[in-house]
Assembly symmetry: none
């Protein structure tokens, strides 16, 4: 079909039902040795196992076969968007990842501090990997740069990385990057890839020229490169397409940011841990139809390569499941945005365990939440973007199609 | 690919093999209580279970994730058509639903009787929900309306509803509806949404003006509104795309109508029950390659919310299975057009049990026809429109693709 969203706009209805999407980041795993269990299978999860018995299980594919997603595409899939059809630029992800708001008049870029010699040739593309506080000092200097008719915002990210946002009318992201991806040459100028981007290119080159002057006496970070220029992706919004008042509850800014791009309200004050997150859901239960609750540390421990620590995080979530069920959601989905097997220490392409509980689900009767039971489950092996329409149907929020 | 049908046109061949598609309407179900069986699982079905052991099982998705289909889209899927790519208009479904034929020169509309006051403002959009016989009396009056150069047919449907068909050259369905969806205002005129619909709009407004005069002295049904104008969807036909001489055998007109839209021959005299249907298949066995046999009451009992009665219908079908197998089909597919769980009393989005038997199938060896065995089956979880090409292949009616 041209766009599933036209169909969802037509079929979705408002209702009083509540949906919870609990995302355990990087949930999927692998055995550390042949014949062994995955992290989820090794963890002691009596509450999840009991819930699994009354649920439909399946496996979710975040993007496509063999594709390991970053956090942005991984969450977009879970939120119901095809991550290929709706790409989100690097600059925007960097911005929302540090809590910088991105709207329709914004252009966001990733910045790197670098080191240049007297002739302006790059000799270190990462400025000796200066620590975050050194980067922040230089970002403070860059804040004084002014451009005509646009508002500039610059914030430190980590180490030698920062984020630049231009805000104003008529900006375009049809631009080249300035990082030559090589040393011994100067940074490239920003070049317009379309006529409507000419002014934006000029503004950015002006910004870079001022940065060069300001940073001249601050080696090793005495110059910058700019990458991933990107505008607001203008994603269809939850309220419009799905008729959901949606709340995002997440400890890390990246996930709050991606949620804000689809129109979820980011709940404040920002939670510090899962108990905070559940308390916030409880406090705001009456105000929203849909709660996205994000658990970060399954992914972190997977990236550490620490199998046992990842199991422990899963067990911690399991121990809080009764608190979540006490809210009495009509539909509860538990899954991950991708796999992060401790064996691989990185995001992977493996499909992700998926559990959907509701009064209207067709239970598989398998009293175990794990990759292998999920591979046998009645939900099948589905693209992640199909999870939301399924949840809406189980929440009795989808009308019949046709007569 | 742009259209699977181009490929099927290229690959399908004629043969002497016979395919039977037995549709148990609304077959899929849900447990009435956690841990319980579905209707199909609870029913005592020794013949289906024995057949299942020699068959490939699977689950079929009629339209898409979370989407509960109406009867039209549900059957189009089973007939091999993507119900989103090939939408069938409301007027056409209403027409074929009462056995009115729809061809390439036809325009069909749903009509409602309504009540208007002395100023012509609608005061009841459903004319006090007059009974069917009152509607039929007024339809008899409306039959006298004549239009230039087109043939008009009007038939009562139920209560305050009727169906209007215009037949003639150059009609278009790019038209607005006349129901203002509100009271206190007059019915809207029919307006052309494209230049080629101007004449059709004028004809329909003429028809409505004559209806107004005729119905003036017949309150409460003293006016009409027209909805869902739709032309023949011009679906690719079975004989052309699949090289099948196809017969439709159904008790209810809706299903005969949808089958006629894809070019199946609707067998007469219309059967009254499953025994009639099987006798007709037997009588016409030599004349057709493909038999669509429809069982209505699994859906009806599901919509009644009567779990046990739905089980009984399934058991009745099971008891007739030996008669069906005695015809010696080469391929037998047994499935539903959607789920109608008694728990929900309505069509639902849950995938539908699917059984494909043929000498060339790869049997799962699961001696049970039910939702959970089907979730494990070798056919996988597939879109309903994939069933027909599978059946054609098992009937040795598909050539190899490529060298």
């Amino acid at each position: 079909m041209a766009d599933d969203f036209d169909l969802y706009r037509e079929l979705t209805t408002t209702a009083t039902t509540k949906i919870v999407l609990l995302v355990m980041d990087g949930l999927g795993g692998l055995p550390m040795q042949p014949g062994g269990p995955t992290e989820l299978e090794a963890a002691n999860t009596p509450n999840l196992d009991k819930l699994a018995e009354q649920s439909s299980l399946g496996l979710s594919h975040p993007v496509g076969p063999g594709i390991a997603p970053g956090s942005g595409p991984g969450h977009l899939g879970l939120f119901g968007y095809d991550p290929i059809t709706y790409p989100v630029g690097r600059g925007v992800l960097e911005a929302v990842g540090i809590g910088m708001e991105i709207g329709p008049n914004d252009l966001a870029l990733r910045g790197n501090f670098c080191t240049v010699d007297n002739e302006g040739h790059i000799i270190d593309r990462r400025a000796g990997r200066i620590p975050t506080e050194e980067g922040a000092k230089r970002v403070a200097l860059l804040k004084q740069i002014k451009l005509p008719d646009v508002e500039t915002t610059v914030e430190a990210v980590q180490d030698y990385r920062f984020c630049l946002r231009l805000r104003g009318e008529g900006l375009s992201d049809r631009l080249t990057e300035t990082d030559p991806q090589a040393v011994g040459v100067p940074p490239l100028p920003v070049t317009a890839l379309a006529p409507e981007a000419t002014r934006t290119a000029r503004l950015l080159n002006d910004w870079v020229a001022q940065a060069r002057v300001i940073l001249h006496d601050h080696p090793p970070a005495n110059m910058v490169t700019l990458r991933g220029p990107s505008a607001d992706p203008s994603l269809p919004k939850y309220a419009d397409v799905f008729k959901l008042r949606a709340a995002a509850i997440a400890v890390y800014p990246m996930y709050r940011g991606v949620a804000s791009l689809v129109g979820m309200d980011v709940l404040k004050p920002f939670p510090k841990n899962l108990d905070d997150e559940l308390a916030m859901a409880r406090a705001k239960w009456a105000d929203y139809d849909f709660f996205f609750i994000h658990v970060k540390y399954t992914d972190s421990r997977g990236e550490d390569g620490n199998f046992e620590a990842k199991c422990k995080i899963i067990e911690e979530v399991d121990s809080r499941l009764p608190d979540l069920l006490a809210l009495n959601p009509d539909v509860l989905v538990i899954t991950g945005d991708h796999s992060t097997p401790a064996l691989l220490r990185q995001h992977s392409w493996h499909p992700v365990p998926l559990l959907l509980w509701s009064k209207t689900c067709r239970p598989d009767g398998i009293a175990r939440f794990g990759e292998r039971p999920c591979a046998q489950g009645g939900l099948g092996h589905i693209p992640a973007r199909h999870i939301l329409p399924l949840a809406l149907a189980h929440a009795m929020r989808m009308k019949k199609y046709g007569a």
